[in-house]
């Protein structure tokens, strides 16, 4: 087995290193292109709208259901210990520290990330990127930078909205349905959730997830084969890789920030 596995592993590493290098150059070039004269603030705003505002409905619905489910499941666990007064804290901490950033990033990868990859891949397949280059307009500044910064900006805001709506969903189940005292629900949450330890921790995660999901999406679009099949495959890879990257990075960040 080793005689097949080791050369294959070597081949995969050998193939991956230049790709990772090119992807890193794209990321750094895109982030640094903010100062380029072809970077457009209006284009960035357009991306924030497309990536962020248009993802709002999905986030709100997902957050509402997530919060409501947390209410039921949290109550089920806490009622055994007579600790239902901590339900608000449990819902808030689960959402702020973990579920909010991770689910926001996963949903963002599915909705906005896939769209980014497909859009840039199609631009490549129809020679729009080549045309831009021929017009002496750097695609890093015009195409990559607004999307990268748009994603980095949009995901933390979406995460805040996800957290707030999720907590509201948890409240809807906990207080009116399960009979937990409303005052206790909010008071416990207020006294146990900290700004730096919980809220900023979650926002930092969201920021990192926004960067990595958008980076993967843009890179997959740029490196897609310029065919219909190639763009389709790149879109699939974008969602799969971004989802796995979010979960892997979440583990690392959680371990570091624990």
């Amino acid at each position: 087995m080793n005689e097949f596995f080791i050369p294959r592993l070597g081949h995969v590493v050998w193939e991956s290193v230049p790709r990772l290098g090119a992807a890193t150059r794209l990321l750094l070039g895109g982030l640094g292109a903010v100062g380029n004269r072809h970077f457009s603030f209006r284009q960035w705003l357009r991306e924030v709208y497309g990536l962020g505002v248009l993802s709002l409905a999905l986030m709100i619905v997902a957050a509402l259901f997530t919060g409501m489910v947390l209410g039921f499941q949290g109550y089920y666990a806490l009622v055994r210990f007579g600790a239902t007064s901590a339900l608000g804290t449990l819902i808030a901490l689960s959402l702020l520290r973990e579920l909010g950033p991770v689910l926001t990033a996963l949903l963002f990868a599915g909705r906005a990330g896939s769209a980014l990859t497909a859009e840039i891949g199609s631009m490549k397949a129809t020679e729009q990127l080549a045309a831009m280059e021929m017009m002496a307009v750097n695609p890093l500044a015009w195409v990559v930078a607004p999307r990268l910064w748009g994603g980095i900006f949009a995901v933390p805001i979406l995460c805040v909205i996800f957290d707030l709506v999720g907590i509201f969903g948890g409240y809807l189940v906990s207080v009116p349905v399960l009979g937990v005292d409303g005052g206790t629900f909010w008071a416990q949450m207020q006294s146990n959730v900290t700004l730096s330890g919980d809220i900023l921790n979650g926002l930092l995660k969201a920021l990192c997830f926004g960067l990595i999901v958008t980076w993967i999406a843009v890179w997959q679009g740029f490196s897609a084969k310029p065919t219909a099949e190639g763009v389709g495959a790149a879109t699939t890879r974008s969602v799969v890789m971004a989802s796995l990257a979010v979960l892997g990075l979440d583990f690392i960040l959680t371990a570091l920030l624990f």
Binding site: M135, A136, W142
Partner: protein, 270 residues
Amino acid sequence: MAEENLVEIRGLHFARGEHVVLDGIDLHVPRGAVVAVMGASGGGKTTLLNLVAGSLQGQRGQVLVAGKDTTSLTRAELYRLRQQMGMLFQHSALFTDLSAFENVAFPLRRHFRLPESLLQKLVLMKLEAVGLRGAAQLMPAELSGGMARRVALARAVIMDPLLILYDEPFTGLDPISVGIIASLIRRLNDALGASSILVSHDVKETFAIADYGYILGGGKVIAEGSPDALRSSKSPMAQQFLQGSPEGPVPFHYPAATTFAQDLGLQVNK
């Protein structure tokens, strides 16, 4: 001599891995001329155009555009040079999220800060020149293939370039659109005082507007000269291409490692 020629290609060699695409090409484009580069599909014509534009780098040889070697320019220098070039892509390459007007205005908006009234006049002049002023507000999806090609042509010349590159401008168009595009290529070249490289395999339309032509085959220039000189070329490969004959030095069959009989199991492999 270099002053007379806007583009000089000397001993250009380009290969993709083992496959040699261009093998020691020499080519020149005089100022003000429309120069055609013809040859069979896959013969390296578009590659040559990309080498002139600096999108690709040859392994050997020189590509001089306005006296500058595109193989040794920095990105910033290449971008400055490209501001003097326009290119019409085979499938137009219009930005699908912008109207025809905004597509044509795109290079101006990106490179200059012009008053909106002036920009509007410049764009409408170019759209009028290609006969599509009335379609200025249409989106690319609402344009026919010929109209999209004309909008792309207006965009290619909006900066009044010194050099215009055409990559298969007649492909996929109806005869009327082909005639319109061919006439526009010639008229715009002369009106702007530009030079043009026209990559095509459409012999009739190309010969009608070109001043000079090159026919590529097997990675080399197999014939060159005025359209009349090319028509009377002695090169069998050039004649096969010009007459569209299936018989000739360009084989119909793609090379195979085994014979047809061997593949059918009718003959034992030796």
